[in-house]
């Protein structure tokens, strides 16, 4: 829960809360709230300008709630992020615009409550606290007929003043927290809140892709450094053995050769498994080389245009490579294409990938797992994809990926 810090504050021992800086933050919140409420009364008179003021006050309030331990309140969605004197109607058409107005009026009510609290509590506490000092100036503390003019006798009154001050501070804090919470409900934008959650989720998914990628690399490295080297060494030992046996015990050679064949088959199997994990060329030479290699291995001509200067993050390169592989495989399987084109270039707001073939079209994501796989990968990379494949062809898949997948620093 996002409101947890303030909720915790209210459940905690009041004495402990009073020893913390929280009450003072509450005082600042209350005091600045009162100051900000002054123009509100003015703008009620100038009501055509009121939406403008409520926009301004809400923008301040979204930041101000941080004083009492809230996170910043999410502001209006990008579409509404315009000064109200330009688009007051747009604002008045949105629910958020009206909620901001309500929030501003409520702010005024809270300011009145705060003012009352201050007048009552603060003045009382101040008067009581000043009691011990009055006799020093020849004056005396009087309540009705009761008059105290001996300094020592005023001490209990001063203690009472401290208690009243504590109560006042605590009450101000509670009021501030309640006001901040109400503000959050009224002027917080759900759309932006959701947007932020989506971004967080997408970030987590990219992290997951990265983790899988790291795992793949680890497996690949372990296979290379472990079994592959041992098997190659074993093959070498058998080779030695063979040169000896050739002369001394030729009868044993067939057995030896079978063992040797088995070792080579094991190595072949490991190689096949490793290249299925991720082609070496992608790890070592990057995406452009890997795509060229993919084109070389295709039975129909594949033209690859890749801006060689673009290096993407490793996990992204692996995804893009999988997407290209998937597209080529799909074209070969279903489209009877004669030519495939793969283009990757940097555009103003990201990276654009164009995949096309001259086949007979009719590609439908609902009928093949390949296209769904592509669209999943694109989503994971926070990109968008658009498939255009009329019956009769040609098929074009254009993918836009966000600019932050481009690797700018030195290679990892």
């Amino acid at each position: 829960m996002r409101t947890a810090p303030t909720a915790r504050l209210l459940r905690a021992n009041p004495l402990r809360v009073l020893a913390s800086p929280a009450p003072w933050a509450g005082v600042i919140y209350g005091f600045s709230g009162m100051l900000l409420a002054m123009p509100t009364s003015l703008f009620i008179a100038l009501f055509p300008l009121f939406p403008g003021w409520s926009w301004f006050l809400s923008a301040i309030e979204r930041q101000r709630v941080r004083l009492v331990g809230h996170e910043r309140i999410p502001g209006p969605p990008a579409a509404l992020r315009i000064p109200p004197w330009q688009h007051i109607p747009a604002r008045l058409e949105s629910a958020l615009g009206w909620r901001e107005i309500a929030g501003t009026l409520l702010h005024l009510i809270f300011a009145v409550l705060t003012f009352t609290l201050w007048v009552l509590g603060f003045t009382l506490a101040l008067t009581l606290l000043l009691a011990p000092f009055l006799p020093l100036f020849g004056s005396a503390f009087t309540v009705g007929d009761w008059r105290i003019d001996h300094p020592a006798a005023t001490i209990p009154i001063a203690v009472l003043g401290i208690i009243v001050l504590a109560v006042f501070l605590y009450a101000q804090l509670v009021l501030a927290i309640v006001q901040a919470r109400t503000a959050r409900v009224l002027i917080g934008s759900r759309v932006e809140e959701l947007e932020r959650q989506v971004t967080t989720l997408a970030g987590e998914r990219v992290a997951l892709v990265d983790a899988f990628e790291a795992e793949r690399r680890r497996i690949e490295r372990d296979l290379h450094d472990g079994p592959q080297q041992h098997l190659a060494s074993a093959a070498l030992h058998l080779g030695f053995l063979r040169t000896r046996l050739e002369h001394e015990q030729p009868g044993l050679l067939p057995r030896l050769d079978s063992a040797h064949d088995e070792i080579e088959r094991a190595l072949d199997a490991i190689r096949a498994a490793v290249s299925a994990l991720r082609p070496r060329i992608l790890i070592e030479r990057g995406l452009p080389a890997a795509l060229t290699d993919l084109a070389d291995r295709s039975p129909i001509p594949v033209t690859v245009h890749v801006e060689p200067a673009i290096r993407l993050y490793e996990a992204v390169e692996a995804s893009v490579y999988s997407i290209a592989t998937e597209f080529v495989a799909n074209s070969l399987k279903h489209s009877a294409a004669h030519h495939i084109t793969i283009t990757l270039d940097a555009v103003a707001d990201g990276v654009r990938i164009l995949l096309s073939d001259d086949g007979n079209g009719g590609a439908d994501p609902s009928r093949g797992t390949g296209l769904i796989g592509i669209s999943h990968r694109v989503t994971l990379l926070r990109g968008t994809s658009e498939l255009h494949s009329p019956v009769g062809g040609p098929t074009t898949l254009s993918i836009m990926l966000p600019g932050d997948i481009i690797r700018t620093g030195p290679p990892e």
């Binding site: 190659a232 060494s233 030695f240 190595l267 290249s275 080389a289 129909i300």
Partner: protein, 220 residues
């Protein structure tokens, strides 16, 4: 022959050393790291310049293709030194890189899978081919290339027999070996080879035609 070895796995390094020395070669030194290899070749001690290098693709410091990159640089600085690459992978892109300047260099070039060293006779034959300025590509790499799609360009005009001959050339086999393997007569093999050169337009070009043909083949 004087040989330098760069291989990070101790077992293999020692095995290859022993194997080569058993068969009359001299192993001048062996290193386990691409930087060490560069240092050795940058300032070679007297009588320590090898005629042939055996280099593992993947080595420290980065454990990616450090060995291959060092080999490409060494080829530039010492084109006369023959280089035999050992790899765990079929990747043709790597072979291409080193072979790109092969026709112009005096030193031969080889690309073998690591386990090939266990096929002692094949390995030694490949070493010989490469040391004489030839090209030797691992049969499995050649097979992977063959199986990897259609034949395009000038290569498409070759007959099936000529393809077979070219594949054997890529593996570093001599005319006599091809004659034996394909059960052809020596003049037939020579006729096929000259036909390959003509079809690939290599007749007029300078450099080692055999190597050029293999390159053309790998480019496909």
């Amino acid at each position: 022959m004087r040989i330098g070895i760069a291989e990070d796995v101790a077992l293999l390094r020692e095995g290859i050393t022993a194997l080569l020395e058993q068969h009359g070669h001299t192993v001048l030194w062996s290193v386990s790291d691409a930087n060490e290899l560069r240092t050795r070749m940058h300032a070679p001690m007297r009588n320590e310049t090898p005629e042939l290098l055996v280099v593992d693709v993947r080595m420290p410091p980065d454990n990616t293709d450090d060995g291959l990159r060092a080999a490409v640089d060494i080829r530039r600085a010492h084109p006369e030194i023959a280089i035999m690459i050992l790899s765990q992978h079929l990747g043709n892109e790597y072979a291409k890189e080193l072979l790109a300047d092969a026709p112009e260099t005096a030193g031969g070039t080889g690309y073998l899978l690591k386990e090939r060293v266990g096929r002692v006779a094949d390995f030694l034959a490949a070493i010989d081919t490469v040391s004489q300025g030839g090209v030797s590509i691992d049969p499995k790499v050649v097979a992977a290339l063959l199986g990897s799609g259609p034949i395009r360009g000038a290569l498409a005009s070759l007959t099936e027999r000529e393809h077979e001959v070219l594949a054997h050339m890529a593996e570093g086999h001599t005319n006599e070996q091809i004659t034996r393997i394909l059960h052809l007569s020596a003049p037939t093999v020579e006729r096929h080879i000259s036909s390959i050169f003509t079809k690939l337009n290599l007749s007029e070009r300078p450099g080692n035609k055999r190597v050029l043909a293999v390159l053309e083949y790998l480019k496909n």
